[in-house]
């Protein structure tokens, strides 16, 4: 089972400055004033207490309390991963509420997308029979988006209505999972590399080989996300994962992983739930996701993330429109809204993953300078060059990969 979801830990750090800004931004939003003007007018404060983070807050109120919007109407249903958007809490107005105010669209936002595989199993009976599902936008990870495209279960995005799609990062245009770029727009992107607790390992880690160091036997973890685990290992063996077409090419990586699991080197395979294990030393070293670690690291500086020398995997969670969705126009407006660098910056400061929107860095700098300099959220070009996305696989080959991986994870 797979997930990589960000951690609202990032919220407290930038809470106050962002909060002041957003309070005024939100309050004036209804009056239609543009956010850059507000930001310029207010500047930023920074002092005092932080708020306690995300627990118990909701990303959106549904329609009724969002205040009068500017005409229009219509509705939208976006089903996304948990903790993947800035919520409305305390005095902050979340992106969804700001969107509803700005466009008058009644938006329903749920966080029921917990796992790519589980979600696919949910939608398969409907989309497989040509019936529509409820949400207008869902957020599959790139490989699942690729599968949905191949199965022809998606509508093409109304790109001509999304002017801000031009803000898409250059390296994400016409990606391997969606070569024509007509079916998906990334929501957030990130990396999988090595996460470790330096107190437990006793030294700095730079290489994937350290995962297999007998010194850490029984304290090593790996992700249940096949492409990240196998990807990282394969790259350390010199395999180019962006050009994989057969199972045999990646076999050495599977063999290495199998050996590690049989010998008890690997303690367990996990999704996002490795925070406490890594933090309290149950796990010394594991394959993990960049955004998660940035969050834990603040509470426990011994926990670090490193882009392996041999390279990290790059992934993206994408917004797609399932076939038969009703509100494609509203969906286009949403995508346009969140691809505005200013809005995207608000999302990034809360979510802590790498935004797909170019120009976000400058906006984030105004809100939270520390975050703007965080290499995990804004990696430099050299780092980016050393990452690879997993190649899209055909159905038959993907089945081989999945079966082999499940056999190792013990299922």
């Amino acid at each position: 089972m797979t997930t990589r979801r960000p951690n609202p830990f990032l919220a407290p750090r930038s809470a106050l400055s962002r909060r002041q800004l957003l309070v005024r931004a939100g309050a004036l939003g209804a009056a239609g004033m543009s956010l850059p003007a507000i930001l310029a007018a207010c500047g930023s404060d920074s002092d005092g207490d932080s708020d306690s983070g995300a627990s118990g807050s909701t990303p959106a109120t549904s329609g009724s309390t969002a205040g009068g919007g500017s005409g229009g109407g219509g509705s939208l249903f976006f089903e996304n991963w948990p903790a993947y958007i800035d919520p409305t809490e305390d005095d902050l107005i979340g992106t969804v509420d700001r969107f509803m105010e700005a466009t008058g669209i009644d938006m329903r936002y749920t966080e029921a997308y917990n796992d790519n595989v589980e979600y696919f199993a949910k939608i398969q009976p409907l989309l497989g029979r040509g019936e529509p599902i409820d949400p207008d936008i869902i957020a599959p990870t790139s490989w699942l988006a690729n599968r949905l495209i191949t199965l022809d279960w998606l509508e093409k995005l109304p790109i001509d209505q999304v002017a801000n799609a031009a803000n898409l990062r250059v390296d994400l245009q016409n990606p391997s999972w969606d070569p024509t770029g007509e079916y998906s727009l990334p929501w957030q992107t990130g990396f999988a590399g090595i996460a470790y607790n330096s107190d437990v390992t006793g030294r700095e880690i730079t290489s994937v080989d350290d995962l297999f160091d007998p010194e850490f036997a029984g304290k090593v973890g790996a992700l249940t996300e096949m492409r990240d685990t196998i990807g990282v290992i394969a790259m350390s063996l010199g395999i180019d994962i962006s050009s994989l077409t057969t199972f045999e090419e990646a076999q050495p990586a599977f063999d290495k992983l199998q050996e590690a699991k049989d010998s008890g080197q690997i303690r367990r395979f996990h999704g996002n739930d490795y925070f406490d294990d890594l933090s309290n030393g149950n796990l010394a070293i594991t394959i993990g996701w960049s955004g998660d670690v940035a969050a834990i690291a603040r509470d426990n500086p011994a926990v670090k993330f490193v882009f392996p020398e041999s390279g990290a995997t790059a992934w993206a969670d994408t917004m797609v429109i399932p076939k038969g969705a009703q509100n494609t126009d509203a969906a286009a407006q949403w995508m346009n809204f969140v691809y505005d660098p200013v809005e995207a910056a608000q999302i990034t400061t809360w979510v802590g993953y790498v935004s797909p929107v170019a120009g976000v860095r400058d906006e984030v700098e105004k809100l939270d300078p520390d975050l703007a300099n965080d290499p995990l959220v804004f990696p430099d070009d050299a780092t980016l060059a050393n990452t690879q996305g997993f190649a899209p696989l055909t159905e038959a080959v993907e089945a081989e990969y999945d079966a082999a991986f499940s056999a190792i994870t013990g299922a």
Binding site: M1, A121, D262, G264, R268, N282, E398, A399, G410, A411
Partner: protein, 359 residues
Amino acid sequence: MTTVADDVDTARRGVKRPELLGLGALVGAGALLAAVGTRLLTGPIAILALSLVLASVLMLIVVAVAGTPETRRKLAPYGLLKPGMLWLALFYLAPLFTLLRLSLSTLPSRFAVEAEFDWNFDNYVTAFTDFGPQFQRAFMYAGLATILTIAIGYPLAYVIAFRGGKYRTLMLGLVVIPFFTSYLIRTIAWRSILSDNGVATGFIDAVGATWFFEAANIMDNGRLINTPAAVIFGLTYNFLPFMILPIYVSLEKVDVRLLDAAKDLYSTSTSAFRKVVLPLSLPGVFAGTLLTFIPAAGDFVNSLYLGSPNTTMIGNSIQDQFLVQNNVPLASAMSFVLMFIITVFVIIYSRFFGTEDLA
């Protein structure tokens, strides 16, 4: 002199052997409903079948109303059973048959939603050959867990039954109450309690017993969790009441005077127990074993939260095949293999116990 009543009586008496009628109607309706549910009968034949089911219900009512009190009495049980049994026929039997049919089918492509029935036995072959370790682990862990539940639960049930006195109901309540919290939450709680820096390991370290636990293979490298022991422990805990309650029920029925009689005949406590109480409690142990072993064998939650990749059980594999690999035919075949093996165990076990009373 015959009265009108007598004449009516004779007319009513026409229904002979009403119980056969009732049973027949019940079984027939159930079978038809199951067949419709399994899609064995489709289209107009299905509609016909459904109307027959309805007709059988109406017929029973008619016969009951128009028949003698004797007839009514004989038909009553079938009438009472009908709604519940029809429900089970449609939602238990029919699905099982559907699963059976699926296990012999092939999917045209991995993500297709309809499988084609073609007497494909490959799924069964794969189920046996590829998942041997998971089956073994499932039965081993479930078996050990069952033995542990007997070891922990029997004495408790005994104490409640024989020494509980007026606090019996209270104590039984205490046994059941923990199970009003969610299964998942309880397992997560154990995860925290048994964690590397949790109370359990802390306690073991404090009393210096680590070497013992390591030797007994309960701890692995200083950790309690992500080990087979943790999974077995979780299974034991979660199924304990299913063992305690049946044992208690059978112990409660033991007439205390029998024990007094044994004492009077100079028996010691232990042999009184062995010869009187133990045999009488066996039906309870039998029932408890079934209610523990069978669900434990198919469990995957404990392995998921408390185990490691080397402790996965067949339940994990079946779930994986259903949800991740989308290989519904294979998953169905695996489910049937699991059920088949369990049934074999149960038959052997009940022969050994010499009892067939399950409730």
